[in-house]
């Protein structure tokens, strides 16, 4: 097996380890639009990083954190729905990122917008995989520590608050973890398909799970299968890797529906 395939598989699997638990929470809390907004903001993050000549990973995390913070601030005034606020932030950031990249291109800088939009998993370096591994471990450890709190907020926010859970802080940390996930998943499936990686394996896992933790494990399993199938399909038929992974995931989802509701 070529080494670049090993790297791609490894990178995909690391991301899926994180997108499993986060994706389940996103599905439980109906946050998929938030995932989308962060993904769109990732283009702005990349543009900023390119401009400042730093790693896109960190540009995306910083801009993602900024967007999360803005979202929380704007949500406090109740005169706009979260939906509308997310739409504004999401598309504002996307447009800003596209404009900045176009300006950079016109100044002669080589910017491969397509790679950001659709992912470029087959070109990851060992160094990138190492960074990915480090970030994923940090996210997993934090999720593990916060799990009961995140879960109780997902069940009923007010009840959790009345029981002494620092809801706002946990939510903010969760948003930051999402920003990290978006940063690492961008290279795998691309900005446009990040939400798919979050939601589809979690949704496929539902019928195979009897507890929240169970669902997380199954979401990771479905994610791993999607990454492996997608990458090999992409090699076999020379299709783009990111969309192939998502397509594999969707196929697995429909296959999962064959299982009767228990």
């Amino acid at each position: 097996m070529d080494e670049f395939i090993v790297r791609a598989l490894l990178a995909g699997m690391l991301v899926v380890l994180v997108s499993g638990p986060l994706g389940c929470v996103v599905v439980w809390r109906r946050m998929s639009y938030f995932g989308d907004a962060l993904a769109h903001a990732a283009l702005l993050g990349t543009a900023v990083a390119l401009m400042l000549d730093m790693s896109p990973l960190f540009g995306v995390i910083i801009i993602g954190a900024l967007v999360s913070y803005l979202l929380m601030r704007l949500q406090r005034k109740k005169d706009l729905s979260s939906d509308a606020i997310l739409g504004i932030l999401s598309h504002g950031a996307l447009a800003c990122g596209l404009v900045m990249m176009a300006i950079m291109q016109s100044q002669g800088q080589r910017v491969d917008i397509m790679a950001y939009l659709f992912g470029d998993i087959l070109s990851v370096s060992w160094q990138y995989v190492a960074w990915l591994g480090a970030l994923c471990i940090v996210v997993l450890m934090l999720m593990y520590r916060l799990w009961e709190l995140v879960l109780s907020i997902a069940v009923h926010e007010e009840l959790a608050r009345s029981e002494g859970v620092a809801v706002d802080r946990v939510r903010l940390i969760f948003m930051l973890l999402m920003a990290v996930l978006v940063a690492v998943a961008m290279k795998i499936v691309g900005i446009i398909l990040i939400t798919a990686l979050l939601i589809i394996p979690a949704a496929s896992a539902r019928r195979f799970a009897s507890s929240p933790e169970n669902m997380v494990v199954m979401a990771i399993v479905f994610g791993l299968m999607s990454v492996a199938t997608g990458i090999f399909a992409s090699m076999q038929w020379d299709t783009p890797a990111g969309p192939s992974i998502v397509l594999a995931s969707v196929s697995l989802f429909f296959a999962s529906r064959l299982k009767p509701v228990s």
Binding site: W28, S152, E158, L159, S162, R206, N214
Partner: protein
């Protein structure tokens, strides 16, 4: 340390220039049941949220016993089917109770047979008892129950209220309860506070049920209320149809609606 579990003095709350709560004072002692009644939009839930610290207000003073543990049972809510969770897991969430402890409390509330079922599969009345179990597992000094009988049929409601007074006796905790039906909670409560932004009247349930302010708020809806059977061991002398017309004329001038 005071003898009160929780004490509110002259609490007021404004949201978007609208007065939600106006000059509310109340206190709950250990072993005492206080019931909040009031029509929809009267601020019952807002008051509960202020007392729980879920809603901030800068009008009035709120004091709590040191290290007061509150067991909160929110209004009936729905756990999305996409979240797989057994009743047991729901009860375990966020507490360190042992399985034995959970089973014992579940037995007390008659839900031990449900522990391994998905939490979405239980009936309304069962879910209310599950929520109550969850609140009790935290060994509360004060139970706060927001419309505990919501979605429960009349018979189940009476059982639930009996259960609540039994819990008060067994656990010696204070209880703050929201209800919109004084009839059913009458036996289970020591004190009633009738709320409509301000405190309309307060006192012993029987006294409140005859208070003109109460009848003014509930008078019309009380017509025909006496139809269902009451298996009480004593009578409450409660005849809304006779009293209501007398009170339809009373104006309350003692409150200043600014």
């Amino acid at each position: 340390m005071s003898e009160f579990l929780i004490k509110a003095e002259h609490i007021g709350l404004q949201i978007n220039q609208r007065q939600i709560l106006d000059d509310i004072s109340l206190s709950i002692k250990p072993g005492e049941i206080l019931t909040l009644i009031g029509p929809n939009g009267s601020g019952k839930t807002s008051l509960v949220r202020v007392l729980l610290g879920l809603l901030e207000t800068n009008q009035g003073r709120l004091s709590k016993k040191e290290e007061l543990v509150i067991g909160y049972m929110p209004q009936k809510f729905h756990i999305d089917a996409v979240l797989p969770m057994s009743v047991l897991r729901f009860l375990q969430m966020g507490i360190k109770a042992s399985i034995d402890e959970i089973q014992n409390t579940a037995k007390e509330l008659g839900i031990e047979a449900l522990l391994n079922q998905p939490v979405q599969s239980v009936s309304g009345g069962e879910f209310q008892r599950i929520l109550l179990t969850r609140a009790l597992l935290r060994k509360p000094d004060l139970l706060v129950l927001d419309e505990p009988a919501q979605g429960v049929d009349i018979n189940g409601q009476q059982q639930l209220y009996q259960l609540i007074s039994k819990i008060r006796d067994d656990y010696d905790c204070g209880v703050l309860m929201v209800s919109h039906d004084l009839h059913l909670v009458m036996e289970a409560t020591d004190q009633v506070l009738c709320l409509n932004t301000h405190i309309c009247c307060t006192g012993h349930p029987e006294a409140v049920s005859k208070h003109p302010e109460y009848l003014k708020l509930f008078g019309s809806s009380l017509d025909g209320m006496a139809v269902y059977t009451h298996n009480h061991d004593h009578s409450h002398d409660f005849n809304a149809e006779a009293d209501a017309p007398n009170c339809s004329t009373c104006e309350h001038k003692e409150h200043d609606h600014g």
